[in-house]
Every structure is written in C-alpha cells, then in structure tokens.
Symmetry: C3
C-alpha cells in the first residue's frame, strides 16, 4: 500500500465562510498516482470543519445560518468567559460546530479518480476566520 502526504492551505478573511476546494483535492489524487484506495482529508484545526455538499453559495449561507442557530457566535460560553478580553479566543461556537460537522472526510478513489456524486463538492467550513489553515491530505492505496 502506497501512502502519499500533501497539504492544502486555506484562508478566509470572512469570519464565517464556506469554500469549495474539490479541484485541489482532485489534482492531488491524480498526482499521487493512487488508482484504488482512499483520500483522508484531515483538518488539524478545532475551529473550522470539512464536509461534502453542493457547490451553491446560496446554500452555503443557509448552512452558516443553521449552524448559527445551533451555536451562535455571540452565545454565553464558559470557554469564552475564561478567555475574556482575548478576541481570538471568543470561539466556543466554532469548537462546538467542529464536533458536529466533523474534522475529516474519507473519500474513495476508484480508477484514479474521486467517486464524488454529481452534486458533491469538498467544502471547507471556516467558523473562526482570519486564520491561516493547513488541511492534511493523506492518499492511501494501490497504484
């Protein structure tokens, strides 16, 4: 089994944002020459998340509004209270949503390509923006 490591850098100036990075993942899978296997897209951060859904900015606004209903930015959080005065640590909402949306996605690779469905894109969900992010891409399988 071959194991290939890559990284994808993401940056959002917007505090809450959804960004499509499917093409970057696709090109890394092709570059790896892995033909049958899996790509583990692993987010080593705790205040952003990764998921798979449609490439539609209207929908992305719906996602962010729904996430805000679950865990509003301006909520009353113990984590934020402990770090009162530290503007970069007022982010309990983002931690909570990371645990619900998830840290990683495992996408199958078949005949050298991602098996994404017609409406599927790989989405980066920034919940605590203005930070430089580094997404780990682990490609495993047979050549």
């Amino acid at each position: 089994m071959k194991v290939v490591w890559e990284e994808i850098e993401m940056y959002s100036e917007e505090y809450l944002n959804v960004m499509d990075f499917t093409e970057k993942v696709m090109s890394l899978v092709i570059k790896s020459k892995v033909k049958e296997g899996v790509v583990n897209i692993f987010n080593p951060h705790v205040t952003c998340a990764i998921c798979v859904n449609e490439d539609d900015p209207d929908l992305w606004q719906d996602l962010l509004e729904a996430y805000q209903k679950i865990a509003p930015v301006k909520g009353n959080y113990h984590h934020n209270a402990k770090y009162r005065g530290m503007s970069r640590e007022q982010n309990a909402h983002a931690h909570i949503l990371n645990t619900l949306i998830g840290s990683a996605v495992n996408l199958p690779i078949r005949q050298g390509k991602l098996t994404l469905g017609t409406w599927q894109s790989v989405l980066f969900v920034e919940l605590d923006g203005g930070k430089h992010r580094r997404i780990l891409v682990q490609i495993m399988g047979e050549e």
Copy 2:
C-alpha cells in the same frame, strides 16, 4: 491490499425516513472475502445521510423530529428561494442535515465480519424522499 466495489440501491416513498440496511452491508462484506480491513459506506448524494444507531422505529421518529428542530422542511432558505417553483429543489433542510449527520461511515472488518456493537445498525436517513439512491460500498483490506 484488495479493493472491492459494490453498490446498494435505496428508495423511500416517504419524504423523511430512516431505513436499516445492515444485512445488505454484511452480505457484501462476506462476499468480498476481505478478512481484515474496512468498509467505507459512501453516500454520493447531498440530501440524504448515513449513520450507525439502533434498529428501533420509535427512535427513528425521534431522530427525524430532532433533525426537523435543527432544520425544518418548511424553513426560510436562500437555496429554496432561488429555486422557487421547483418542488424537487425545496430541500435546503436536507443539505444542512447531510453536513451534520455525515456522508459516510467507515466500519472495521475483523475476521471477515463487521465489528458492529450489539445495538448498532447501519442506517440510511432519507431527508428528501421519492428519489432513487445509490450507496457506494468500498471494501478494502487483506484476504
């Protein structure tokens, strides 16, 4: 490492539904002859989801009611407004819930069998029913 591909077809007439498809997954794992490895049950759709939980229709009603509290079918969504008049596209609730419940589950295979716990079943969660669905089953490991 052996990689075997299978598909499972799902169809729910009900708009919101939970269906247990554990036995189909189990029989595909046995058929694959993979003894030690993993089965990646990957949903290529964006308005239904897959999870692992109990085979209890009363609980399934609780799941759907809880999901409806998070993202009601009759909510006020940008995605739905854009596609106003297209009844098949009034499904932002389903997209939102897909990102929270998840697109895929990775189940370990040990001695040729799924390692599911006593109360675990593999569940298909339809959130935008009346559509034919095709679940991808990727079985990887050693014979």
Copy 3:
C-alpha cells in the same frame, strides 16, 4: 498491510461527560509499530460518541450545554415512552446526539505518530453515563 486490534475501556460516573483519551490512543499507535497508515477509533455503542477537539474542561461544558439544546435529556421522545419505567432506556437524547457527533474518527498515522494538530485531543463524549464502554481501536498501515 498490517492490521492491529486494540481496545480502550472508558467509564464515566457522570451522566453527561467529556473525557480526553488521546494518550491511550498515542501509546497504542506506538505499540503497533505501524509507521504510515490510519487508526480507526470505532465506538460500538449507540449512546456515547467520539470526536476530536480541544482539551479544555470549560469548553467541554459548552459542548454538553449545546448538545442539550439540540436534544435535551428530559425531552419528549417515542423511544423513552416505549420503555417507560426502565430508567436505563430513557436515553433517546443520547442516540440522537450519537448520530450527529459521530461513531468513529479516522486519524492519520505519519512516521509512527498521530498527526493531531496543536489543539486537538481525542475526546470521548458520554451521553448516557454509568455504563462500562469499550472503544475499538483498529490500526492499519505499513511498518
């Protein structure tokens, strides 16, 4: 590909609890001698969950409070009504949250170590405590 199986036992007297078990996972990865691969931390139970986030007890209280907003312990559930009088089965909230937080995490192993980010810990989320839990750890990859 080498496949190694381990188990981690967890027990929380508290009914709702978050516990960090990163060090146990790390030591099992080192013991396995797998250098490049993945560890699938699989929860065979349906009323607790696993996620990756920060080692901060204040944040953990925020997590549990947010989860309670989604699915309160004292909610009105079909599952609980069916098992009325059985105190150990009044746990629909825990089933619901298991489907949202997730049953398993897949962590990459690189050069014999977990690739966790600076603020990432592996967290066990007990949602129906007072039960003995057994977490399955499947380590796969190349030596």
